[in-house]
Amino acid sequence: MWNKPWTMKEGFLTGGGLIIAGMALELSAGPVVWEAFAWPVNGIVLAGFLMLIAVMFLLRKKVYAFQFIGTYQAAIPAMVYAVVLTIIMGLTRQEVGGTWLNNMLTFWPFVLIYVYITVILGVITLKRLCVLPYHGHIRNIAFLLNHLGLFLALTTATLGNADMQRVKMICGIGEPEWRALEPDGTVKEMPLAIELKRFIMETYSDGSPKRFASEIQILTKTKKNIETVVDVNKPYEVDGWKIYQYGYDTQMGAQSQISILELVSDPWLPLVYTGIYMMLAGAVCMFVLGRGKRV
């Protein structure tokens, strides 16, 4: 073992080592505190992460472990660990404030395995980018769309999560509201005010809900004055905030005098979407090109 070239066995041991390290971290430092990654920490972490990947890539000829990271023998065990840990996540009840297996997203072994996968993605992306000028095949481009797209989506979605704001605004008819409730119940002053003009609830003949919507007027600090309708599935976007129909006074039903709107701001969304669109393009390539002939 540990004779070069390393095989899947070494790959599984590396992943197992990460899981043990994660357990040690969980015991000593407690679960991952994602809230701590709010801007600018996430920007710094991302820059450091990218540098780490670049260094690993540049030193791959000198340090064998860094070379190994860019191989199938490293990637496959990493994915197997991710499958197993995510299955455990799927079989256990996930709770906010839960520990260990009941809150996988903050469980160090889970996080470390996914970080490891992301490092692998980064290294193999750089490897493939280097051959692109000489072999600009559609297959290499498809490879980059898939792997770089996933890398981008994973890093920016995870690191950007701390900057996402989700608040609820309870709007009454004829009363412009500029305060909103954070998930923990604290009141937050918003850069925009919303006045409910009319709450709309339509039902089918059997009484099941057909439509929930709110006719609203929005006034922003940027001096915008907008009248619009927010439906379920049709949020309205203004100044980086997406406004969603969230709830209403269920006692009153269609006569509800209030509408609960959810306001979401996610500054990292364009980066995540870039990754998602790259993966979509990569998937189209995968469909068109298929497996290809074995060399």
Binding site: Y72, I76, V83, V232, N233, P235
Partner: protein, 275 residues
């Protein structure tokens, strides 16, 4: 029904659907027959003619409704029925699998029949959360992925049982691999469409809802297979087992989570449960 009348003009409506559908399905069946008989010209011509006729109906509906026909369930099924033979034709043109056109024709026929025999669903109860242009592509793409990956799992199972003494041939493995690539491509698209839709409907593209968690598991499992098959030296039986295991995980994602204690009451994906 969506019959729009402008004075003095005849408009396309669901009333005419059956005629277009019958002709299109006959052409698709002829194309599927051509594929079985290795008559590629017939396979292409007939399938394309069927697609044109069917698309003609969609375009007429579009003009007559004065909006794209993507709003009701019936309208989304129109697109399902159109895309299935199209996807089948693309797969056929690439790999010449004899059976793929029959497979896609039967699937398209199922959706056409639902439209014909269950027309009341056209504009009846669709809860607000599902009323989205993402609904159709998200679901149809997943259904197609499930179908193709099911075919791959079936071939893997046959390979494991029948060929327990013999080695599975390279050309058989090539078909399985290509099916997995097509299925995985659609699985990816279905998942990402779901993420884009979730952002519009629920405010976030990924919430680790049980359905999403199992979708991620399934996706990763097929990635394991695809990467394992890239190894220069590999255990072919293990590869087939990975494929079957992945398909079992897919069942969990598809309907298994409805019976999973850890997912009870926490999934926003349970629309069909007694609510």
């Amino acid at each position: 029904m969506y019959v729009c009348f402008r004075t003095g003009e005849t408009r396309m409506s669901w009333e005419q659907f059956i005629y277009f559908a019958i002709v299109a399905v006959l052409f698709w069946a002829a194309g599927a027959y051509g594929a079985w008989r290795n008559k590629t010209n017939i396979a292409y011509t007939a399938t394309i003619l069927g697609l044109l006729i069917f698309f003609g109906f969609i375009v007429s509906m579009w003009i007559s409704l004065e909006r794209p026909p993507l709003r009701t369930m019936g309208e989304t099924r129109l697109w399902y029925s159109f895309f299935l033979p199209l996807a089948g034709l693309i797969v056929y043109s690439r790999w010449k699998y004899k059976w793929i056109l029959s497979f896609s024709t039967v699937l398209a026929l199922v959706f056409i029949c639902v439209n014909l025999f269950k027309p009341e669903i056209h504009d009846k109860t669709l809860m607000p959360a599902l009323q989205s242009p993402w609904f159709a592509p998200h679901v149809i793409v997943y259904m197609f992925a499930y179908a193709v990956l099911g075919a791959a799992a079936l071939m893997a199972l046959i390979g494991l049982i029948m060929k327990s003494k013999l080695r599975i041939t390279n050309s058989e493995f090539e078909i399985i691999d290509n099916l997995v690539y097509v299925g995985l491509a659609f699985l990816t698209i279905g998942m990402l469409f779901g993420a884009l839709w979730a952002k519009e409907a629920w405010g976030h593209y990924w919430s680790w809802d049980p359905k999403e968690t199992w979708a991620a598991i399934t996706w990763l499992a097929y990635l394991v297979y695809v990467h394992y098959r890239q190894l220069p030296r590999q255990n072919e039986r293990l590869a087939l087992w990975i494929l079957i295991g992945s398909f079992v995980l897919l069942q969990m994602c598809w309907w298994g989570i409805n019976y999973l204690p850890s997912a009870q009451g926490t999934s926003v994906h349970t629309y069909n449960m007694s609510e």
